[in-house]
């Protein structure tokens, strides 16, 4: 059992947990993730390790309620415990001094981006972070990112905070201004990463994307996390989660995300029905 020592709601439906998992905390590097199974009947859910404290033996994860299982996890409270936390999984981010890097994140992808931005800053890079959200309420980790970025640009789709529009447009703007960009890290909704890859491709700026592939075991056993990279098939849980964004077949990933839509909807209906029954 892995005890939840702290729970904090960062934004509507976005929750940060600090969980006791000493072995994971000790071994983890930026870019890696855990698989959490909250309870016996639950799914195994992959979540990025946002931060860790090897002395206290804790790791932090940020969960966005997107479907049944993430909703279920977010119902856990401080003092409760998750049944299983396995990790650290995946390859750590390759961090070196590239020069100037742009870290561009959207939605809860910011949670994944933060430890990478931090690592890149510590390695001596000039870090420009573009933090995109749908609206002001959903902007997360602003303070933390401020600390590890030389420049932090916030965008919202509706203009309720920062610049109105998409992060990718801001990135295009930086390129057009003639800013020298040596490396781009894009993490967020698959469609956003696809757009960023198209922005940087003509300029041949090395770009990596961290895929939020569907997973079960997270240990290379099932192959559900297959992703086409160039002409190769890779397992996101073992070879990733980060890949060369110019080679990833994003359309395939988007299609995979919709494959279980119906099942997800049925599960959600069940929760709603149960909640309604409780109320009446």
């Amino acid at each position: 059992m892995y005890k939840i020592v702290k729970k904090k709601v960062l934004a509507p439906k976005i929750t940060r947990f600090t969980v006791e998992a000493p072995e994971v905390a000790r071994a983890r590097k930026p870019g890696q993730f855990v698989v959490i199974r909250a309870e016996e009947t639950g799914e195994r859910v992959p979540l990025t390790i946002v931060d860790s404290d090897s002395e206290k033996g804790t790791i932090d994860v940020i969960v966005q309620e997107a479907g049944f299982s993430t909703h279920d996890i977010c119902c856990f409270q401080e003092g409760d415990a998750f049944l299983d936390v396995l990790g650290p999984l995946g390859k750590p981010t390759h961090i070196e001094n590239f020069g100037t890097v742009v870290c561009i994140g959207g939605g809860v992808g910011i949670a994944v981006l933060y430890p990478i931005a931090k690592g890149l800053k510590e390695a001596g890079n000039t870090v420009i972070t573009i933090n995109g959200a749908r609206n002001k309420e959903l902007v997360i980790l602003e303070e933390e990112l401020e600390k590890v970025s030389d420049e932090l640009i916030i965008t919202t789709d509706d203009g309720s905070y920062g610049i109105k529009g998409f992060g990718s447009t801001v990135l295009q703007g930086l390129i057009d201004e003639g800013r020298k960009i040596d490396f781009v890290v894009a993490i967020g909704p698959t469609i956003m990463m696809k757009v960023v890859a198209e922005v940087t491709r003509p300029y041949k700026i090395p770009t990596i994307a961290s895929l939020n592939a569907i997973m079960i075991d997270g240990t290379g056993m099932c192959g559900v996390c297959r992703v086409t990279v160039g002409d190769e098939v890779k397992f996101a849980c073992v070879d990733g989660p980060e890949f060369d964004a110019h080679l990833v077949n994003f359309d395939e990933q988007i299609a995979k995300h919709h494959y279980y839509d119906h099942e997800q909807a049925c599960q959600m209906e069940k929760i709603i029905a149960a909640a309604e029954q409780e109320r009446s």
Partner: protein, 477 residues
């Protein structure tokens, strides 16, 4: 031969007892649920079958068993009605008889060499093994073995499949402190995530594994060695005197043909994991499993049969499930019994047929498998006649669910983080067959990680051999 026989004076004629059939549930009934297909012997059937054993002094059956069970010994106890004694006899060398009695390929092992097989069908050794193990468990008569006084030595067992469980059992008995490290959230390896409930109920696996917990093994789940901890850390920082690696062959192979990443195409490991480990067939479990109206399973081994039969159960009666296999019927690697059960359950066999690409719709969901017909040519290195494509025989098999069951290879987490452990080009560890000794001092390995995917009992045999070598190693260190 026949003439020779007739010239002999007629022997005193003893009524020959026929091999007792295993009661099984009718196909129409069993495809509606995940309950066990074979019901097991009754006491009466067991007593009758046991009488068929000749108690022959040479007992070749024992040599055919990878863990050398005293087969005539336990069968003799069955004839005396001492079923619990018989179970204890088996457990002298086999910790998991209820599992092995169900899943071992006895027809290639003990029963193949049984003397009775020369004149009739062999003694039903596996069925008797299952019977006594079930009897012992149901009567609550499972006994813990005697444990030697503490040796003060610590051993890490990595992986909790049949090989790891066996090593743990033997080493605990010898008085060592044993910690089992398992990557998944449950103990048992393939027994829990691969082999389906209807062939091997998980409660039985759990009950057999309970023994090592009671014997004092420390269990660490959610520990992926090579990621959470490395072998070197276990030995240098955590104070383990020896390590056994029984991590199996968990990496699924794919065909590498166009369209294989379409939605609806999964490995058998994925499909079976969803169903078995994540219990997707049960309402209260959240992990989804999706089976369409036409399922194509690629491959014809035991894993393919398990996947096909599971798909039939998940999909329901009007789901059509077919096997696609590039070789001929008698070349199918699955056990005859499994093929027979699959056929009874309405699984269709498209033999001498090889997929060349998968075709999807606008949502990227698989719809069709384009296949080519094959014919048998000259024998290849394996001695089997090589299938060759027949030009112009391309055809379409409609399928909205495809399960690829082409075998598995070891994963590389441990090899990548332990440079002094040498592997073959297939990723299996180089280890001495008799002792499980690897190229690294104090590290032993056995089971599928050494042999590539094989069988439960071979993994257990390797575990026994390694445990013996580990005991010797620890005594000398």
């Amino acid at each position: 031969m026949a003439a020779e026989k007739r010239s002999r004076p007629p022997r005193q004629k003893k009524e020959r007892i026929p091999r007792q059939e295993m009661p099984v549930r009718p196909p129409e009934e069993r495809i509606r649920d995940f309950n066990e297909v074979a019901c097991g012997f009754t006491e009466e059937l067991a007593l009758t079958e046991a009488k068929r054993c000749l108690q022959c002094p040479t007992h070749p059956c024992v040599g055919g068993c990878p863990v050398s069970i005293d087969i005539p010994g336990f069968i003799h106890l069955v004839t005396e009605g001492d079923f619990i004694g018989a179970a204890h006899k088996i457990k002298e060398t086999n910790l998991l008889p209820a599992v092995c009695g169900r899943v071992c390929p006895q027809e290639e092992q003990c029963e193949q060499v049984c003397v009775v097989a020369k004149i009739d069908k062999p003694v039903g050794i596996g069925r008797l093994e299952r019977f006594v193990a079930d009897y012992e468990r149901e009567q609550g008569a499972v006994e813990l073995p005697e444990i030697a006084p503490p040796s003060g030595k610590k051993v890490a067992v990595v992986g909790s499949g049949p090989s790891g469980i066996t090593v743990a059992y033997e080493l605990l008995q010898a008085g060592h402190q044993v910690t089992i490290f398992e990557a998944l959230h449950t103990l048992g390896g393939v027994l829990v995530y691969g082999i389906p409930e209807f062939r091997l109920p998980k409660s039985i696996v759990a009950a057999e594994i309970e023994t090592i917990k009671k014997m004092g093994a420390e269990i660490k789940l959610d520990m992926l060695i090579g990621k959470t901890r490395t072998i070197d850390q276990l030995m240098e920082e955590d104070g383990f005197d020896a390590v056994f690696i029984g991590t199996g062959a968990g990496l699924p192979m794919f065909l590498n043909i166009p369209g294989e990443n379409l939605n609806g195409i999964s490995s058998a490991n994925e499909f079976l994991t969803r169903v078995n480990l994540m219990k997707a067939y049960r309402e209260e479990y959240v992990t989804p499993v999706k089976v369409g109206k036409r399922v194509a399973v690629i491959g014809a081994g035991n894993v393919a049969m398990d996947a096909a039969r599971s798909a039939k159960r998940v999909g329901g009666e009007d789901t059509e499930v077919s096997i696609i296999y590039r070789r001929a019927r008698d070349q199918m690697p699955a056990r005859a019994e499994e093929i027979h059960h699959a056929e009874e359950e309405g699984i269709i066999f498209n033999l001498l047929t090889n997929p060349v690409r998968f075709i999807g719709d606008d949502k990227n969901n698989v719809q069709q498998v384009e296949c080519i017909k094959m014919e048998l040519g000259e024998p290849d290195e394996s001695g089997r006649r090589r299938p060759i494509p027949i030009e112009g025989s391309e055809h379409i098999i409609p399928a909205d669910t495809v399960i690829v069951a082409l075998g598995t290879r070891p994963r590389r987490f441990i090899a990548e983080t332990t440079p002094d452990l040498k592997t073959s080009k297939w990723g299996t560890f180089l280890a001495d067959e008799e002792t499980g000794k690897t190229t690294k001092k104090g590290v032993f390995a056995g089971g599928d990680i050494v042999t590539g995917s094989a069988t439960v009992i071979k993994a257990m045999g390797a575990g026994r051999a390694a445990a013996k070598a580990i005991n010797e190693y620890l005594a000398g260190s």
